[in-house]
């Protein structure tokens, strides 16, 4: 990590959704900080609240969602308290976001070049002509072949990888301080995946943009992350730098995740899966949410696990776990 300046400080962010069955808590008091030039990976299964966290920070929740409490301090301002107008100035400008399915994330009736130049027109207040010039530059930077004719293409004429490069071009156009990438490679072929990740790394080196990379793919985490945030059922269950979390995980969930990664060449008959299922958000247990699937609980603490939600115990300054087993280790 080059510089110690913190770009984003999220504290106790809690987001809920209004459903026909009442209000459901999708994100439960997550906290993290993001430093300049750093890549933070948020890992977890589908539905654990990773995307919702990102959308909450950007103010892009659907109408049924709302931030219940918490703060997200960006350059001395709390994003969660800003008006839409103020957020619109930051979006695409200081904080950008790219999404999972590039094909559906681009406007199908607008030419791709216009969609890129639009972001310049909005934030730099320049004309359409000048915007197009800058857009062409951007397309070259993200290594799109034959950019002049690609500018005139429509999204459905592009492949997935190409479209995601366009999304990256849009996102990094104004040299944002933070880029949030929500499963950017999940919808792409594996070979394209590594190209896109490499592109993101290269751009990051140039611009010192901090990246929040949301994924469920541990391989991506291993390749890209400086720090890792593991989420389960809306809560942070472990955090730390990538080497520590991968080599010495402490939370039983993280441990089980690491164990489930198949090792090529090793002979096994059965892959290690985590038994059971994620509890449904409207029927959460009163204690630790992973308890029913936990392979490490012992009789000493089992009553704690079942009845009280464990807080995050900081094992050392940069590594923590939400598990009663760590109670003595702080």
């Amino acid at each position: 990590m080059l510089s110690q300046s913190t770009q984003l400080e999220v504290k106790n962010l809690t987001t809920c959704f209004r459903t026909s069955k009442g209000n459901v808590m999708a994100v439960d008091e997550i906290s993290f900080s993001l430093k300049k030039g750093e890549t933070l990976c948020i890992v977890g299964e589908s539905g654990c609240g990773k995307s919702v966290s990102a959308l909450s920070i950007m103010g892009l929740l659907p109408p049924s969602g709302y931030v219940k409490s918490g703060s997200a301090i960006f350059q001395n301002n709390d994003l969660l308290l800003m008006t839409t107008k103020e957020l619109e100035k930051l979006r695409g400008n200081r904080i950008s976001m790219i999404f999972q399915d590039p094909g559906s994330s681009l406007n199908p009736v607008m030419r791709v070049g216009d969609q890129v130049s639009e972001i310049f027109q909005i934030h730099l207040n320049i004309s359409k002509q000048e915007g197009r010039k800058k857009a062409l530059e951007m397309l070259k930077q993200v290594e799109i072949p034959d950019p002049e004719s690609r500018m005139l293409a429509f999204p459905h004429e592009l492949s997935g990888g190409m479209a995601q490069r366009i999304m990256i071009a849009i996102a990094l156009a104004c040299n944002p301080d933070i880029l949030i990438a929500d499963e950017p490679t999940t919808a792409l072929d594996v070979t394209i995946q590594s190209q896109i990740l490499n592109l993101m790394s290269e751009m990051q080196l140039k611009t010192q943009t901090a990246i929040i990379l949301i994924t469920h793919d541990l391989g991506v985490v291993a390749e890209m992350a400086d720090n890792v945030l593991v989420m389960y059922c809306g809560q942070v269950v472990e955090y730390g730098d990538v080497k520590t979390v991968f080599n010495s995980p402490i939370h039983p969930y993280t441990k089980a995740l690491m164990k489930s990664i198949p090792i090529i060449g090793k002979k096994t008959r059965r892959l290690d899966a985590i038994p059971g299922r994620v509890p449904s958000l409207d029927m959460l247990p009163s204690g630790c949410r992973f308890e029913r699937r936990c392979a490490e609980k012992n009789d000493n603490i089992v009553s704690n696990c079942q009845n009280k939600i464990p807080p995050i115990f900081n094992v050392d300054s940069l590594h923590g776990s939400r598990c009663w087993l760590e109670k003595g280790n702080e």
Binding site: M58, L60, K89, R91, S96, S105, L106, N107, V109, M110
Partner: protein
């Protein structure tokens, strides 16, 4: 894009053939003897033979169809049995009324419908939304002829001595007449020629005619006479367009690319106007052709209610009178107009949605 347009044009040809065939067959199938229907029950056999010869009704069926097709293509529809005048002349006099009515209905339906649909969608689930949708539901359930009669009663009788009074029938107030633009401009036009028919066709659009000759009195009068029929006619399409606009816009607003637009920092109003609307309008354009068909059908009923001498009302009368040339000609023209409109809608859809051009 060009290939797309050509493809659409080519598909129209068999449709045209189908129209000719169907109208020819239907007109021939109408029971009853046209001779007796026109000349009376007492017409003798010799008179009827002469009658049939004159109107070519004694030829074998396939010859009749061939001759008929030939004539339609050059727009020679023969003479009306009932009026003994060229049908094309009658068309020139009557079609403009229906066109003014249907176009007026279309314009009002589109503007009002889209506007209401957008407002409902943007104020989703508020009282504005619910109220508009209730009105829309009521609107599509109203019989057009009943609405017309009720409007005529309200504005023609109840509000008679107020400024809100609107004429309940006719195209112009009695005593006023529209002077064709070519007469106003002093053009030399021989009566009865194709050129005169062509010019008359345009001149018979009173509103358009008054506009280009600068005759404000006729212009205002003609528009006032059109207000009630157009409102009655446009109500159902307006309600349908409002509903589709609303549901389409709501759906589009939930799509991923709208989220991207917001993430780019596009201002909320621009998200709707620049990104959402163009996509949301696609389903609306799709149904426009169908709505035009409904407008043409509804024009029949509206013309009857408001005493407008348009194509629809004449068609119904011609059916009663077994006036084959008019039945054929009017049905063909209406069907061809409908076909053209659908063609235009298809082509403009190709302009709006680039994905479709690849087909």
């Amino acid at each position: 894009m060009i290939t797309y347009i050509i493809k659409r044009l080519l598909i129209s040809i068999p449709v045209l053939f189908g129209i000719l065939l169907v109208t020819f067959v239907l007109a021939r199938l109408i029971p009853g003897d046209p001779c007796k229907a026109i000349l009376g029950e007492k017409a003798t056999v010799e008179v009827c033979e002469k009658f049939e010869k004159r109107f070519g009704l004694d030829q074998p069926i396939h010859t009749q169809f061939f001759l008929y097709s030939k004539r339609v293509v050059v727009a020679d529809f023969g003479n009306s049995i009932r009026f003994s005048r060229p049908v094309s002349q009658i068309l020139v006099e009557r079609f403009p009324v229906t066109i003014e009515l249907a176009l007026g209905g279309l314009v009002v339906a589109i503007f009002a419908g889209v506007f209401l649909g957008i407002i409902s969608a943007l104020k989703h689930n508020t009282s504005v939304d619910v109220g508009t949708m209730v009105l829309a539901n009521v609107g599509i359930s109203m019989p057009v002829f009943w609405l017309g009669l009720m409007l005529a009663y309200l504005f023609g009788l109840l509000l008679k001595d107020t400024i809100f009074w609107l004429p309940p029938s006719g195209r112009l107030t009695a005593g006023l007449s529209s002077i064709p633009f070519f007469e106003v401009w002093g053009w030399e036009v021989l009566k009865g020629t194709s050129k005169s028919k062509f010019l008359e066709f345009f001149a018979n659009h009173y509103i358009f005619n008054a506009l280009i000759t600068g005759n404000w009195e006729i212009f205002k009068d003609a528009i006032r006479h059109m207000i009630l029929p157009v409102i009655a006619l446009s109500t159902i399409p307006m309600a349908i367009i409002a509903r589709i606009t609303r549901s389409s816009l709501l759906e589009v607003l939930g799509r991923d690319y709208i989220r991207t637009a917001k993430a780019k920092g596009v201002k909320s109003k621009n998200v709707v106007s620049k990104h959402a609307l163009r996509n949301a309008m696609l389903p609306v354009v799709t149904i426009l052709g169908l709505q035009m068909g409904g407008l043409l059908s509804g024009a029949v009923l509206t013309e009857t209610v408001f005493g407008l001498s348009g194509v629809g009302r004449m068609l119904v009368e011609a059916i009663y009178a077994r006036d084959y040339p008019i039945i054929q000609a009017f049905t063909v023209m209406i069907a061809v107009a409908y076909m053209f409109i659908n063609l235009l809608v298809d082509i403009s859809y190709g302009f709006l949605d680039p994905r479709v051009r690849l087909e």
